[in-house]
């Protein structure tokens, strides 16, 4: 079998957790299939190759330190063309999406998105994708080359962290047409709350129904001395500010207790909170995917539960 290429992801000079999550799994899969696990780094990240101990070797494409959809995709495309790996693992992230699809289409390779699990199967890999808002797991068997986009948090980051000294190869790549130019990184506005530091979070999702009803969640948060959080749709609707958003493009939180109210549990949200010590989910749909990640749950109307809870706690 061929090698497994892991496209590393970094921001502000640090490798992101997804890199290690993928490395750990790649090493495992490569081991089983007799190939090598090769990490691809960008810009000056080859300087931190020592963190990528899980990889057998590192291919450094150089180029810009700042992510650029066009040049990074072109670079990866060059590497994949040259190395012909049997599997390319890319993060199912904002950065990964630009790279994975572009490379796969240009090279006419199979793509599999939203990978929550992977294993070797005869002649190739068996990839499980979390689809339809997390309601269905779809298994795809791939053989020959494939690009797999891996969900953040699907695998364990610690299992992929290992100090080491993989050989680093400088690789000349195509730099792309120059039609996309990075200008600057924009930090989020300083907010009145940093939910990544909160011990207890009361998170609301679409089930809250209306902006006014968020008040109820606020009452609960007050009593528990907790902060409010929310899923993306509430931020898009203007009901809450981005500082409260938990999920793929929001905050990643690990509170002691995460109370999810009216949140269905789509992967993009889970990604942001699955590391919470205790997850309690209240959702009137007993089949909601959130109950798979939650530690405790109640399949009840969130308004009834929260009202009663607030009443009881007030006494």
């Amino acid at each position: 079998m061929g090698d497994i290429l892991v496209i590393t992801e970094h921001l502000k000079g640090e490798f992101q957790d997804i890199t290690f999550e993928m490395l750990g799994k790649a090493k495992e899969l490569a081991g089983a299939s007799g190939g090598q696990c090769i990490a691809v780094t960008f810009g000056n990240m080859n300087g931190k190759a020592g963190e990528l101990g899980m990889a057998h070797s590192v291919v450094s494409v150089g180029g810009s330190d700042d992510f650029n959809p066009e040049s990074y995709a072109a670079a990866v495309q060059s590497v994949v063309s040259a190395k012909s790996p049997s599997l390319v693992m890319v993060g199912s992230t904002s950065m990964g999406m630009d790279i994975a699809n572009s490379v796969a289409t240009a090279l006419d390779i199979t793509t599999v998105s939203y990978c929550a699990d992977m294993s070797s199967s005869d002649g190739g890999f068996s990839v499980t994708s979390s689809m339809y808002g997390g309601k269905m797991n779809v298994v795809t068997d791939v053989s020959g080359s494939a690009v797999a986009m891996v969900l953040a948090g699907a695998f364990n980051a610690d299992a992929g962290k290992s100090a080491g000294s993989p050989t680093v190869e400088d690789f000349a790549v195509d730099s792309g047409a120059g039609k996309v130019r990075f200008k600057q990184l924009i930090e989020p506005e300083a907010a009145d709350v940093d939910i990544t530091q909160s011990d207890i979070l009361v998170a609301v999702g679409r089930g809250i129904g209306s902006k006014d009803d968020i008040e109820l969640a606020e009452e609960l948060a007050d009593i528990l001395d907790a902060d409010l959080a929310c899923s993306r749709p509430l931020v898009d609707a203007g009901w809450m500010s981005k500082a409260h958003q938990v999920g793929k493009s929001g905050m990643k939180v690990k509170p002691k207790v995460y109370i999810a109210l009216g949140i269905s549990g789509a992967p993009e949200h889970i990604e942001g909170m699955k590391s919470s010590s205790t997850i309690i989910a209240i959702n009137s749909d007993k089949n909601a995917p959130i109950f798979d990640v939650a530690h405790y749950g109640m399949a009840e109307d969130l308004f009834d539960v929260v009202e009663e809870l607030v009443e009881e706690l007030e006494d």
């Binding site: 808002g133 309601k135 999702g205 679409r206 089930g207 209306s210 902006k211 006014d212 899923s231 993306r232 749709p233 609707a237 999920g247 793929k248 493009s249 009216g262 949140i263 269905s264 549990g265 789509a266 993009e268 949200h269 959702n283 009137s284 749909d285 007993k286 089949n287 909601a288 109307d301 009834d304």
Partner: protein, 696 residues
């Protein structure tokens, strides 16, 4: 008898003022004509006869404010009679020797006594009204501070107009009365047919003949001259309601209240400007007497929000007056929502119909709002929450954003199996409705209805997941297209079913099925469940064994009562259950809306709201000394159950549905429920749970 110069002068005055007045009236006519089409030409004779009779009996105004209405009647009868009086005055001026004073003719004597008494009526009435507006200044005549007002109104225009009219009437009638007194003084003796004039004739007893003669001429000119000079002011004043109100009443809408008019121009539905409104609604401002009866009964205004139906009509009128002839050019393109009513106010209306019901001159401010909503919605201008609900109704067929398959979930707790009306024939098709199906405060009531009907052996069934919202409130938020789609789909489904009658617990559903679906091709016999319950009790199918010795009050739902005239069926049901019914002051057609209609149940309360209409109503019930508040509508149930809590009356006021009383009075034994379960075929409609949608 006037001097020849005076006679000529008066004729000239009539001509000049008449011409000016005519121009004013002509502008009214032209403005009304510029309104959109509406057909009110049916049975014109009958319409006018009925209107005149109603006006003569003072019925429209007596609907509210009885004491004030009494004083109005004084003025009405007095002023009406004054037509004859003025004619007599003209004769006196032009016909040598003509007078009714001192005549032996019985007609003349009767004329005199009426003229005398009515003069005083009018004066007393007018003084009362001036006192009311300027001294007493009742709060109800004020607009909430957040109501959009035309600058002319804010500057005190209403008071100014009232003052002008009031003073005119006082002088007109007063001077005529004084003139008569002077006449008597001149004759040297009183006349028992002119009692009050006789009394004050004493004031002039020592006036010289010449002075009296002058006085009589002066009072004549004051009376008659003033009324002629007043003519051009007429079209700019609320005083014109004398003429316009009866016309407005005669040409009023006679079709079913619960049937909204269709859209005349689908490419541009509803009304943006004054001329987009159907012409009877363009006529409304001139009928308006600025009495504020409408906003007194308006749940939106009463709860502090920016809607005043009164301000709407008044603003229209002030705008028209201000624009003058510019109205027929570009001023006519000004949007109503720029000057007459604010965006917030348009969406504050609950469509309860109280304003239309109470208006003494037949105005329909609510219809203006409906037209404006249609226009706004066509351009997707509406509160965001409403857009979400409409999307839900479009995609899922219900306003709760729940999967249609969950529509029958309420029945899972029942021991009985319900017939599926889409699969087998039933006698009664039960159109359950969104709220009764999905809202957790209402589901208990829905289940009890099923239990009662089952126990009574009624052959009924439901459509389950095939049922969609009937669309009554969708139409009232202005989304005519969505209403049509829902109606089409529902009618298609109903056509597949085999049933004799439809019944529903929801008055909104009842209203549209009964009044609006025929126009869309769905003609059914539709009943509210209170009617059905009454029939079943009277026929003995429902056997009431216990007499409940309870006192309770009953709240008339807007769409059952005011809209469809059904007041007694629910009351009869309650009485047959042995309930001692205590009425609230605002009952039957004066019922006070819970605040949920017109899509309001889907919208957040306005920031300025001081007290929810439903809380206000609960307090009314508390005040009549009952502890049971009876409803016959699922939206009422959820609104009042909540209001009882939020108004602090959770332990003092229980909210009951009429079905609660029926079920209790039936006193069913336990084993019967199991027997019933086995007598229905095993038809269970799938009720899968649903998810909350993609959540990131």
């Amino acid at each position: 008898m006037l001097s020849p110069n005076e006679q000529i002068a008066f004729i000239l005055l009539v001509v000049v003022c008449g011409r000016l007045a005519f121009q004013g009236f002509n502008r009214i006519f032209k403005t009304v004509k510029s309104g959109a089409k509406a057909d009110r030409s049916d049975n014109l004779v009958g319409r006018f006869m009925n209107a005149l009779i109603d006006v003569f009996l003072q019925k429209p105004i007596a609907k509210a404010r009885p004491i004030v209405s009494m004083f109005h009647s004084f003025i009405f009868f007095g002023f009406s009679f004054y037509l004859l009086v003025n004619m007599n005055d003209v004769l006196e001026a032009y016909v040598d020797g003509w007078t009714t004073i001192g005549s032996d003719n019985i007609v003349a004597k009767l004329f005199n006594v009426f003229a005398d008494i009515f003069s005083v009526f009018v004066l007393v009435g007018m003084i009362f009204f001036l006192y009311r507006r300027f001294v007493q200044k009742p709060k109800v005549m004020e607009f909430n501070t957040n109501v959009k007002l035309h600058p002319g109104v804010s500057a005190g225009g209403l008071k100014k107009d009232s003052l002008i009219v009031g003073i005119f009437i006082l002088i007109h009638v007063g001077s005529r009365w004084l003139g008569t007194a002077m006449h008597l003084a001149g004759n040297g003796h009183t006349d028992s047919w002119l009692p009050t004039a006789s009394i004050i004739s004493g004031l002039f007893s020592n006036w010289s003949h010449a002075s009296l003669e002058t006085g009589i001429h002066v009072t004549w000119w004051l009376a008659m001259g003033l009324i002629v000079m007043f003519l051009p002011y007429f079209p700019r004043s609320k005083h014109i309601h004398l003429i316009i109100a009866p016309v407005n009443l005669a040409l009023g809408r006679k079709t079913a209240r619960g049937a909204m008019d269709g859209i005349s121009n689908p490419a541009s539905p509803g009304s943006k400007t004054l001329s987009d409104l159907p012409w009877p609604q363009v006529l409304d401002p001139w009928a308006c007497i600025m009495c504020t009866r409408c906003h007194e009964v308006c749940p939106a205004h009463e709860s502090g929000t920016p809607l005043s139906p009164s301000a709407l009509e008044i603003n229209k009128r002030y705008f028209i007056n201000e624009q003058g002839n510019a109205l027929f050019n570009d001023a006519g393109e000004t949007a109503l929502m720029d000057y007459a009513i604010s965006d917030d106010a348009v969406w504050s209306c609950t469509t309860c119909y109280a304003c239309v019901e109470v208006c003494p001159v037949g105005n329909e401010p609510m219809m203006d709002i409906m037209e404006m909503r249609r226009n706004q919605v066509f351009d997707a201008k509406m509160p965001d929450e409403l857009a979400d609900v409409l999307r839900s109704l479009d995609e899922q067929g219900n306003s709760f954003n729940e999967s249609a398959r969950r529509r029958q979930k309420w029945s899972k707790k029942l021991d009985i199996k319900l017939k599926n009306a889409t699969k087998e024939p039933v006698k009664y098709l039960w159109y359950v409705g969104d709220f009764a199906s999905f809202n957790q405060n209402c589901q208990d009531t829905t289940r009890k209805v099923a239990e009662v009907l089952s126990a009574a052996g009624v052959d009924f069934g439901i459509m389950g997941k095939k049922e969609k919202s009937a669309g009554n409130d969708v139409r009232r938020t202005g989304e005519e297209g969505l209403f049509e789609v829902l109606a089409e789909q529902n009618i298609k489904m109903l056509e597949k079913c085999d049933f004799e009658e439809i019944f529903t617990t929801d008055p909104h559903t009842f209203n549209t099925l009964k009044n609006e679906y025929p126009d869309k091709g769905g003609n059914y016999t539709v009943k509210h469940y209170s009617t059905l319950l009454l029939e079943l009790i009277q026929s003995g199918d429902i056997d009431l064994k216990k007499k409940l010795d309870i006192k309770a009050t009953y709240h008339d739902p807007c769409y059952l009562g005011r809209y469809n005239g059904i007041y007694n069926d629910p009351r009869d049901v309650m009485k047959l259950c042995g309930i001692d019914l205590v009425e609230m002051p605002r009952n039957k057609e004066n019922s006070f809306c819970c605040g949920a209609g017109g899509g309001r149940v889907w919208l957040p309360d306005h920031d300025d709201m001081t007290q929810r209409p439903s809380e206000n109503r609960i307090e009314e019930a508390v005040a009549v000394g009952v502890n049971k508040f009876t409803v016959a509508c699922p939206k009422d149930m959820t609104m009042y159950a909540d209001a009882a809590k939020t108004s602090g009356n959770e332990d003092t006021m229980a909210v009951k549905d009429i079905i609660d009383f029926v079920l209790e009075a039936m006193d069913l034994p336990e084993p019967i429920m199991e027997e019933i379960a086995s007598s229905y075929p095993n038809e269970e409609v799938s009720t899968e749970p649903q998810s909350e949608g993609l959540d990131l």
